[in-house]
Symmetry: C2
Subunit: 405 residues, 2 copies
């Protein structure tokens, strides 16, 4: 049975007929972007704000068990309310200031991760100061462990008794677009916090602050008799204190004459399945340089001009996919898979074949292609993947002389 088709996000301001949109066309909003929430990031250190948002009756809590979200259906998240989560996180985790919480830090006390995601300004009710209104959204880790084991097991039993279930694997790709963006924010932050319980600079335990968007290396630990050693992350600003996002380049490669597109495949993919090339950006590379390096390393092709098309958050665990289109130079079109051994194959496809595959041969990696697909035909990634958007921009726009950027 095919999974429900997710909605793709609409462009942020479809009504705007600006000089930029007339010149470059409609902005492509990729899956996992298009969040309805205003993050009001500057309010995160303000516990008076977080406390009133947390306790507001409209507040929504997205629950995670081992990084899997609680679903209402295959296309929708379920949100718990304040009364549901009190047994896990207490009546008000923001009752004292952040400064006081850091001063009282005790590494032996387990506090479940609670992330402030933002305000949905389309919903009335909660208000803070003059400007900040909307329904508050939080994410909470309810994985049964340590001091919350019993309460978390009871909560999970209760929600499962109502017919709800935590997702299993990456079925999130069927969530409605706005839900997918909320989930992506929550998952990225929960994962980053979980991967960094210790300070990379000094090796001591750290604590989550700023509504889950920062980790700090406290100078004291109530469980220790001695002071902790000094740590460079405490003086000045250290990027180690802030969430990590890994820039990744992903690119549709066009031939020098503009008529063909290069696609590659990994060994573990289903037969006939191809996609764009991709790889991590390295230190001190521009995106354009990273695109040229990765394409050469994986396929031997030499690119000239590179243009950035659109971007996509990818929360497995922490990527920013930067989608680009690059054009091969006339003398650089020969495929060589011998440099980096990542791909099983890479080859040039005619635009017509790719257009047909976009029509009949797309699906998620673990799913079947559509009913019109004929065995042996090219298979491609689904609309939720930026690879699909890049391939589509090239064969539906570029080869006809109007790249869709």
């Amino acid at each position: 049975m095919p999974l429900p088709q997710p909605e793709l996000p609409e462009p942020a301001h479809p009504e705007v007929d600006s000089m930029l949109s007339r010149k470059f066309g409609k902005e492509i909003a990729n899956y996992f972007s298009g969040s309805p929430l205003n993050r009001v990031s500057f309010l995160r250190p303000d516990h008076a704000f977080l406390s009133s948002a947390f306790k507001h009756p409209s507040a929504n809590f997205l629950l995670f068990n081992k990084l899997e979200p609680l679903l209402a259906s295959p296309t929708a998240l379920h949100y718990a309310k304040y009364s549901d989560v009190q047994s896990i996180i207490g009546d008000d985790p923001f009752v004292t200031s952040e400064e006081d919480q850091i001063a009282e830090y005790n590494s032996t006390t387990y506090t479940p991760l609670l992330i402030f995601l933002g305000l949905d300004e389309s919903k009335q009710g909660f208000k803070y100061k003059e400007h900040y209104k909307g329904q508050p959204y939080f994410a909470l880790d309810v994985t049964p462990k340590l001091s919350v084991t019993e309460a978390a097991e009871k909560l999970i039993k209760d929600v499962e008794g109502k017919g709800l279930a935590f997702s299993k694997g990456r079925v999130h790709m069927s969530l409605r677009a706005q839900e997918a963006a909320i989930y992506a924010e929550a998952r990225h932050l929960l994962d980053w916090n979980a991967r960094n319980p210790f300070c990379g600079q000094c090796g001591h335990p750290t604590m989550s602050v700023n509504g889950g968007f920062k980790r700090t290396c406290p100078p004291k630990d109530a469980s220790l008799k001695l002071e902790r050693p000094s740590c460079a992350t405490r003086t000045g600003i250290s990027n180690l204190s802030f969430p990590r996002t890994d820039p990744t380049v992903i690119m549709a490669v066009v031939s020098a004459n503009g008529r063909r597109i290069l696609l590659g495949r990994q060994k573990r993919w289903p037969p006939y399945w191809y996609s764009t090339l991709a790889g991590f950006l390295e230190p001190a590379e521009s995106v354009e340089e990273a695109v040229r390096r990765e394409v050469w390393e994986e396929s031997g092709i030499h690119l000239g001009r590179v243009v950035i098309h659109s971007t996509q958050p990818w929360p497995y665990p922490a990527n920013l996919m930067i989608g680009a289109i690059g054009q091969a130079i006339p003398s650089g079109e020969e495929v060589n898979l011998g440099h980096d051994a990542e791909l099983e194959d890479a080859k040039w496809f005619e635009a017509a074949e790719v257009r047909e595959a976009l029509r009949v041969g797309t699906s998620g990696l673990g799913e079947d292609a559509g009913p019109e697909y004929k065995e042996g035909g090219l298979r491609l990634p689904p609309k939720t993947a930026i690879a699909h958007q890049l391939i589509s921009a090239v064969v539906n726009g570029f080869v006809s002389g109007t790249p869709m950027i």
Copy 2:
């Protein structure tokens, strides 16, 4: 005295008249990009390769003392040779395999950081297998500390005796473009290694492998009687093992009618100095969303369409600047500095005033403006900053209807 003017990198393939360059114009190569080195990233785990590159008479070693590079002049780096660095790093740090080095790890042994930067393929001499030729480049940390204190102090005295000097502060902005790109790669990697001596996952010491592009959490430590605990970074792939690069958005904001540009200033900047807005991309944001969020948080302006212009590596310590142009929606042009308190001022400028400032009022932050600058006129960042390129693209292209992207 004004500093020497750095060269800006040339576009990667200026001769390529591709469909992409005809549609979008010449690619902008920003300062710190444009490296002449092929990183051959897939050869980094291969110690036979690293060993022969390290010992080759043509190998160049860029030396760093406390993250400051050794300069030949204000515009050029100095490169040491194999015989200069043997006293610090030994005859061949790659004589045993990476696997063996991890098995023999001892956390009490100090090994100075050595980074393999790449091969300059325009220079003949060194060759590995069929395809990989060129002059090898390495970076080496010669900061006097622990077991190398004496050898490092002697080496520093020797090079200073020859009239060479380690740079002081950010004078690297006067390096020639290709040298700046080599320096940026080295600095980013040295800094990342130095900030992460401990594993964020388990808190134990880590070691540098893969020519400085990876840190691993070894299962054994010869200085300990007991085995180390298991660590999640050892099973599967963990992003904590790889260098961190923080995506940052920086954007020129155009008014709804396309005739004005929004610039902001921080309190600590010299009088009359303005620049583009900028900020870190957050988890699970697309670049386009991060641009809209940051512009609203810092200035209150609401943006519609956002287009990505070009990107710039920024090695202080580990940023990727993603340059964009965004256009305000007609009802969203009112400035409000009250949300995030980062800026002292943000206001709209007419294109003519900005064009004049690009002609007479640009300089580095600590430098004087040019001789034609008149006190009270607008001041702007220098050509080496992507902010300058974005502002220039807008006032020299966008307002005349042809954005330079």
